[in-house]
Symmetry: C2
Subunit: 443 residues, 2 copies
């Protein structure tokens, strides 16, 4: 296939027909369109956008490039959650078993850390023995028996997206609303789910910081989901500071385990419950938000959420004792306390600075081939708006060596802004709810 | 070298520093930046443009990627001409020997046919035995002895441009003013010339049809030339109809040979003389345009231009008898006459339609690897504005077979528009003259 005329049309602001997207993606996946043509097209898409019908066609073409899970025969509805990614966002590890323990199945396909944001797969694999690469048969059986599987994107799910994502990562064409939407939805729709909740991050630590862009992404993904018969709801949540206290692979796993018992920081619990409410409503396991919330809180209190995670860990080859002894998670050899350099108000905690420091400390990835050290990171014990004294401990640094501690201290110096006057408030933790009916502001 | 941040900056409308362009082009030429990153960057350049300093840096980087010819020791100044390309444009074959016969040396590096436009190298190679690939030593000696060499771009001239041009051709990023300007000027400045005349085509058959874009290209190239100490002048000429009558490789060679004796169609002679006047002025071989024009016309009348071409043909291995017997050029087995389908006025002759038909008939290239049949094409014996009778012969079609004749007839039916009322005039043959001082309208 000769892609020249298609590139030219997109370059000049025109649109490609659905069949053209289908043929192009099929040819690219088969290796019949070279990377250098596709990357020129991606840059033209980045700069000139896609019409809604084009985004739909691209999503469909990527979805059709691979296999789909099927859970039509289950009596339990299948619902999933996707987050656009942030620093300290370990919600998936709490949410999937929690929702599964309330009668909605969650076949969750997650990704790895990339750039300044973490990835659920890495956090799961911090648990000794945990396998995220299950065969389709294993996934099927586990969702049937436990109502929950937490897995990686296998080679046969949306292979076109895998190839395109790697190319976008190398050609600075990641942060495009239609490309992000098509990439996420082609994978999620392959899960065979009937409902999807989106956690769209906004603020300085998000991939798309700006509110309007976040809303546009929400609307685009909701349209794609609904077009494929998947009820889709989005919450816009704050990523102008980390979510919870722990930032770093195994530190986040430990905080998530605490969250399964309701013992995680309040912001993490609140976002988890809010997303869980939407999932139970979509899955028909509750009739009202209040009923859903009560069901979730009950599952946490009664230990059902933790038990469900324990079963999932065991089923996927992990050591379930980790739930009772976080010391089984990878431990950093060097730990240091970061104290407030002066008294004042915490005006902000910049997530991107911490996320990039974790990469520099060896706990994240610059490229998909990088190995990671899961033990490194931060536990930040303060929050924007807090009053602090000079010398007061604000955070712990976990590092592989003394150099890592130095990197961590430098990052905290930049990330935690201490001012002398009451700072303006940060973003509301949960600010908007978007459905196919429109946008509501969350009180 | 990791090009990601540079792509990102250009994508977001920023500028790359001169050292960044230099390092990027060096790394790309060495194979250390992959095609898929460069093509994303080229698309961002296409859509967001380049600042003048960036175009200069890119041109310098491409120039520095290879060797340069040196003629500093010659007592004769070296001047060249470049045309942005059109249909029927065989000016180079007449102009180079003509100017060389008037005391200005012309070391002319030309290109091949691509897309709907022809290429000088193919027309030269239609002459049996003619070699366009000379060694640097051969070029040097021939320019010293004959004041003229007509050659192709060797592998050691601007290799970065060769690689980039192939990539642009495959990724629909050709028609960008800064990229075109940098590509042309990096090659021309490598010729070691002290003056350059540009023939910027405008109208429907030009790569950049629109007047304003043509002027922008002229200004950009003049600036690049002058920055490198090469006096540069541009004429804007009409390409809303073919130049001369012959369109097609060997047919154009034959018409060019007639032009050396002053026997070519008036428009071809006029453009040739106008460009020649500029070259003689730049080379200091005439003090006024009138003196230059008289010198050129004298060289044609006295047979000096034809003699010079004869010497160049012989020096480059070609059969000089072709000047006296055009039957030595490749001949098409099928020839047909195209008659006017109805009476009326010729409103236009669309060059792009004829150029594309020649490609379809085997006489042009879709990609640089295509072989060509030099014998096919058209000789169009009418001009826009002519009054024609139904059945009057308007053109001859030269083809490899009966199918080619059918393609040719269909093309002429579309290309030659015959209307019943006096049509508006076409573009002025030569409309603007651009120098570093500014733009003049040509009377």
């Amino acid at each position: 296939m000769w892609a020249g005329p298609l590139i030219e049309r997109k370059r000049d602001g025109g649109a490609l027909a659905s069949e053209e997207w289908r043929d192009l993606i099929a040819a690219y996946t088969a290796g019949d369109v070279p990377d250098y043509q596709m990357s020129a097209l991606l840059m033209a898409v980045f700069l000139n956008g896609l019409e809604p019908a084009e985004t739909a066609a691209l999503t469909g073409a990527m979805l059709d490039s691979g296999a789909r899970l099927r859970f039509d025969h289950l009596r339990t509805p299948c619902v999933d959650k996707h987050s656009t990614g942030g620093v300290g966002d370990k919600v998936s590890l709490v949410l999937a078993p929690l929702v599964a323990s309330c009668g909605v199945a969650v076949p969750m396909i997650s990704g790895r850390a990339l750039g300044h944001t973490g990835g659920t797969l890495d956090k799961l694999e911090a648990i000794p023995g945990f396998r995220t690469a299950l065969s389709p048969g294993e996934i099927q059986r586990q969702v049937e028996s436990l109502a929950c599987a937490m897995i990686g994107q296998s080679a046969d799910i949306a292979p076109a997206d895998r190839k395109l994502y790697a190319l976008r990562d190398a050609t600075s064409t990641v942060e495009s609303v239609p490309l992000i939407a098509a990439s996420i939805m082609s994978k999620k729709l392959a899960e065979g789910i009937s409902g999807l909740v989106l956690d769209i991050k906004r603020g300085s630590g998000a991939f798309l910081p700006d509110l309007e862009t976040g809303l546009e992404l929400a609307r685009t993904m909701i349209q794609l989901g609904e077009d494929h018969g998947c009820r889709t709801v989005a919450l816009l949540t704050a990523m102008d500071r980390p979510l919870g206290n722990a930032c770093g692979v195994a530190l986040e796993t430990e905080e998530a385990i605490a969250g399964l018992r309701g013992e995680a920081p309040a912001d993490l619990m609140e976002v988890t419950y809010a997303l869980g409410v939407e999932m139970l409503l979509l899955g028909g396991a509750a009739r009202t938000p209040g009923e859903a919330r009560a069901s979730l809180e009950r599952a946490v209190r009664a230990g059902k959420a933790a038990d469900k995670f324990r079963s999932v860990v065991a089923a996927q080859g992990g050591n379930p004792a980790v739930l009772d002894d976080p010391g089984l998670l990878p431990q950093a050899p060097e730990v240091a306390t970061y104290a407030a350099p002066r008294a004042g108000f915490v005006a902000g905690i910049e997530p991107r600075v911490l996320g990039k420091a974790i990469v520099e400390m060896g706990g994240g990835r610059r490229t998909m081939d990088d190995a990671i050290n899961p033990a490194v990171g931060f536990v930040v014990a303060t929050r924007p708006g807090d009053t602090v004294e000079a010398g007061q401990p604000l955070a712990s640094i976990y590092a592989a060596n003394a150099q890592g501690i130095r990197v961590g201290i430098a990052a905290l110096n930049r990330a935690i802004r201490i001012v002398s006057e009451t700072p303006p408030p940060g973003l509301p933790l949960i600010s908007h709810r978007v459905t196919r009916e429109g946008v509501e502001t969350v009180a």
